[in-house]
Amino acid sequence: MQAFTLTRPADTKSAIAAASRPDSAYIAGGTDLLQLTKDHVETPRQLVDLEPLALSRIHATGARLRLEPLARMSDVAAHPAVLRDWPVLSQALLASASPQIRNMGTMGGNLLQRTRCGYFRDTGFACNKRVPGSGCPAINGENRMHAILGVSDRCIATYPGDMAVALNVLDADIELTGQPGVRKVPIGDFHREPGDTPHIETVLQPGELITGIDIPSPARRSHYLKVRDRASFEFALVSAAVALDIEDGTIRAARVAAGGVGTKPWRLAQVEAALTGKSPDAATLKAAADQAAAGAKPAKSNGFKIVLLKRTVLRALQTVSA
């Protein structure tokens, strides 16, 4: 591991100032960062510890939810208001990692977790995301776990997280604080497709700090379904997050997103359009789910995700409209 110093800032301002220096990284739960430093994928010389900032509250006020960046995955998942009003969020978190990791992992770090592409995490291989311009061995190599949506000819790595998929159907805003000030970014714009620059994964600027996640309204009729190679403690092959507003037998609004298939959490606009204004009957749900893989570009070993995605979305839709 690259040697580093550990800085414990007194407040947000000094944290941002410290992290704006070159070769610096924030450390929250440390569960992804320390894996990456152990494997020499990331080589920061300074870690800026976020724990002293004590930004770990969960505010559920009326219809709104605000999550501070250091709130632990386990605490958010078990919060009574989250269980009642945002079940999709609790379910996505409980389907993530292990109880131990969920006691450590935080909201901010979770959003920024990096891909599980094996080539990316092994410095013995080329990888455009780790070393821009070095090539992508996954495109013609081991790609069973890789993305079918949002891929480019530079990178086909999947965004691996679950929580961000749920946040996409909750229309969350990510609050970012940097030296110029505070800004809010809709979750759908926070992660980026790889394009020609797969090493740039989000809109976060150097030194910028995630200071909150804001969710504007409840989504009681919502659900997260994750399909994986083993029953638990595994990343998604495919997952689906669904939130429906059904009134008088009609779907007024539908928000649907998928994980495990996209280079970023993938909102399924065509599925949503096929549901809106219809009655949630079996034929409607099936026709909508059939749109889930629109635009998919599979590689050699991940074509199975097309069928799996449609079926996962259908099952999730059936669960919430029952």
């Binding site: 040697a3 320390l34 990692a97 109880p99 131990q100 990791i101 013995g124 029953a231």
Partner: protein
């Protein structure tokens, strides 16, 4: 083992250090160049522990290599197996992905802190009674996880126990016996 004697621990380290699959980089990792050591005060099993450590030191390595508490095991060193599970301020965590330098002033409980005098903790006794292990390597992590699981209220059914033990892998496959041990210890407590 300067005196050349063979201890069980020496054999384990030797086996893990067989480095057949280890890349030169990973080997360099085991002997990182020294940086300025920092002073850290931990509370481990109720006792104060003063350490002078490299900021990179994991809590797992601090416990095993510096404090000599080798009950906590290193499996993957990447959060994926649970062998290194300890309690940090009463919550179960993986010590391999925890920096010891960030544990200043925190309470750490390891497998060594579970029994009182010569009496096993009820969870340890249940593992013995139900044969909840074969080689025993994963067992300290399993037991630390299981003790936390019962406290969290996640021992309601065998299915719930399995899900909430999913962070602890047992390569010997002692799972049915582990579940039986936890079920018994939980019902004895409840």
């Amino acid at each position: 083992m300067a005196d050349g004697s063979v201890t069980r621990r020496g054999v384990m380290v030797g086996a893990a250090g067989g480095v057949v699959f280890s890349t030169p980089r990973a080997r360099a990792d085991e002997n990182p160049p020294a940086t300025d050591a920092i002073a850290v005060k931990l509370r481990v099993n109720g006792e104060a522990l003063h350490l002078e450590i490299d900021p990179r030191t994991s809590l797992l390595d601090a416990l095993r290599e510096t404090a000599g508490l080798t009950g906590t095991k290193k499996g993957c060193d990447r959060g994926a197996c649970g062998a290194c599970t300890v309690h940090l301020d009463d919550r179960r965590i993986v010590s391999c992905l925890t920096l010891a330098a960030r544990c200043e002033g925190k309470h750490i409980r390891t497998i060594e802190g579970l029994s009182s005098a010569d009496r096993l903790h009820p969870m340890q006794a249940a593992f013995v009674e139900h044969d909840g292990f074969q080689c025993g390597y994963c067992t300290p992590g399993q037991i630390m996880s299981a003790v936390a699981l019962v406290k969290e209220g996640h021992a309601g059914s065998d299915g719930e126990i399995r899900e909430w033990m999913s962070g602890n892998i047992c390569r010997c496959g002692a799972y049915p016996n582990i579940v039986a041990a936890i079920r018994q210890a939980a019902s004895a407590e409840g």
